[in-house]
Amino acid sequence: MTAGDKILLAHGGGGRLTDELIHSVILPAFENQTLNKLTDSAEIRLGKDNICFTTDSYVVKPLFFNGGDIGKLAVCGTINDLAVAGAKPVALSLSLIIEEGLEISILKKILASAAQAAKEENISIVCGDTKVVEAGSADKIFINTSGVGLKLSKAEVGFEKIAAGDKIIVSGTIGDHGMTIMSQREGMKFESEMKSDCGSVAQICAKEIEVLDSDIKFMRDPTRGGLAATLSEISDQTDLGIEIQETQIPVNPTTQAAADMLGFDILNIANEGKVVIVVSGQKADECLEICKSCQNGKDAAIIGQIVKSSEPLVELITMIKGRRIVQMPYGRELPRIC
């Protein structure tokens, strides 16, 4: 990046441009081993315990959408980042940046929803901050949450554990959050039939680790950039190939129809209540059953596997038995013209 360059919206899209920004601008400023790992949660040792620590900011338009709102999103998103790292969420902070003029009733609704989400996960919001900015300096409300969790003693998740032969499980239908937001924003005709998956995966993650401990190799919540971004990252970091079967990937038909209409690849669309699990081949069926026994994992499926390959590529075996590669999406997805 050179001096004249400016931040583009695409730098926040979760694709390759985001990656470049992080590596060429942000990491060099802070350089340390924990941060450099760029995991969902940082792991730090405090006395005898391993603590996981994470933070995330939430900006979403519209603030209220079918299946959730920015408050629930801010709580569940941070809980999920802790959960996929193999930690039991303990406490959250919640900070608000509010645009002058926001109705108090809206704020109350958002906070009630955040509180409800935290309560369901048995976790407290223990500190926070409030700033108000001039009208026009923010879009209604932005929320930041940070969270700490206690690493589960049985958890041994990490890219380095992944090996050829491991299976890949996704905990339910993909793309629901992203397409719900987009169609609600654009006033598309299916908006009422679609629902964001906004929710917690903590129960799934905890149960998987409890039962299968080191057979659970890796977990990640496929948010921005969708399943494609998560799988490409696994492949990049492990130097292994991935094969997934199109027919096995759970997709809600309405979500698919909305994606088709706008020309989006469903694999690139954001999820907010899903987890991708890499599990050893022998325990895949058991892992799937555990997922399905959890409230947010009923539609879970085994979608593919890790393979040895001369090139670390993610390949999709399509419905008609063709193959194509799946890559890290770039920038933000733009709807097509006709």
Binding site: T318, I337, C338
Partner: protein, 360 residues
């Protein structure tokens, strides 16, 4: 399903035998290009058949001069640019719309109707609607042009560069060294223009024209039918998208296009000037015409250095044959529009083909 694919295989082999060489089918529509890749069809079909990506991506065929003219309007403080999303990353001589989004006057719209809404919401600004696309998007532009007149809206300006598909298909076949054996015709456009619109092409150039929907199996069926026609040497118009496409098309949409626009000569990227291929607002809409009211000049400009989109759009080369492909030209740093648009051939090749092939 596999049975239908096998049937297509048989027809491809027959066609190849009858022509004595590889067969080249052009998909005219960008959505076909993308869906062929997404479904893994290129990988599933035999070597003997090539699919050429045609001039069916609206952003890709838009002349450089038009893009620069839009950028010059975006630099004006009195204008808000209402554009389809695909357009914002296309590089002009002086950056792209995306690099100007911090100015706050670039709005992505999903439909022409949104541009009209913007005009009502911002009475003190001039809303410029970047009206591009084929017969699919032209009717919606026509609708807002008529509504704006009826409702007395004075701050909506339409910068029309809508294109017609049939003149471009004819122009391609009139080129001396074209390689096109048949067309897979665009589903959405055909819903509007009707399958009869392709008859003159079949009669004059003896090339099969088969309309296909966007489902992988419909594409397979279309390829199968095209190859059968090639093998039997019986070129005809056919549709494997029968539910939606009629012979006559959508008369209402055709009528409003005719009443609102004149078909004039216009430039296409890569194809140059094509007779009666571009829709401009009729004289009675001149108060909405951005070219007449905002003093934008739009002259044909050569493509940016090194970009071979023109060749790609004519089916004369595949994207990986372009020297810049996957080197200086990537979806993050697009040099030409074919790499920008989600419907562009270069972007589709980049996203969905194995890297091996890219480096060949």
């Amino acid at each position: 399903m596999l049975e239908r694919i096998n049937r297509a295989y048989i027809q491809i082999a027959r066609a190849q035998k009858s022509l004595g060489r590889k067969i080249n089918i052009m998909e005219v529509c960008g959505t076909h290009t993308v869906n062929v890749f997404r479904a893994g069809l290129r990988d599933a079909f035999p070597e003997g058949m090539r699919l050429l990506s045609g001039p069916g991506c609206p952003v890709c065929i838009t002349d450089q001069g038009y893009i620069d003219a839009v950028l010059s309007l975006a630099d004006r403080d009195d204008c808000i640019i209402a554009t389809y999303g695909d357009m914002i990353r296309v590089p002009g001589r002086n950056g792209s719309l995306e690099q100007r989004t911090n100015r706050g006057n670039i709005k992505i719209v999903l439909s022409a109707e949104d541009a009209l809404k913007l005009a009502k919401q911002n009475p003190d600004k001039k809303i410029v609607f970047v009206a591009i696309g084929f017969e699919t998007t032209a009717p919606a532009t026509a609708v807002i042009a008529n509504e704006a007149i009826e409702q007395g809206i004075k701050n909506l300006f339409i910068f029309s560069n809508h294109k017609l598909v049939i003149p471009a298909m004819k122009a391609l076949l009139s080129e001396k060294n074209h390689k096109i054996d048949a067309f897979m015709c665009p589903g959405h456009v055909s819903v509007i223009i009707g399958s009869d619109a392709y008859k003159p092409i079949v009669e004059q150039f003896k090339r099969p024209c088969v309309v296909a929907g966007f489902e992988p199996m419909q594409i397979v069926e279309a390829i199968s039918e095209i190859c059968r026609q090639l093998a039997d040497n019986t070129p005809a118009v056919d549709s494997v998208y029968p539910a939606a496409v009629t012979a006559a098309g959508n008369k209402t949409a055709q009528k409003i296009i005719e009443e609102t626009f004149d078909a004039v000569d216009g430039c296409w990227r890569g194809l140059g000037n094509i007779d009666k291929s571009t829709l401009k607002l009729k004289g009675k809409f001149s108060e909405l015409d951005a070219e007449k009211q905002l003093g934008v000049k739009f002259i044909h400009e050569e493509d940016l250095t090194g970009c071979q989109c023109g060749q790609v759009l004519c089916g004369l080369m595949d994207p990986p044959d372009c020297g810049l492909f996957a080197k200086s030209c990537t979806p993050d740093t697009p040099v030409g529009p074919c790499m920008v648009s989600s419907e562009g051939a270069c972007a589709a090749w980049f996203k969905y083909t194995r890297r091996k092939r890219r480096n060949q």
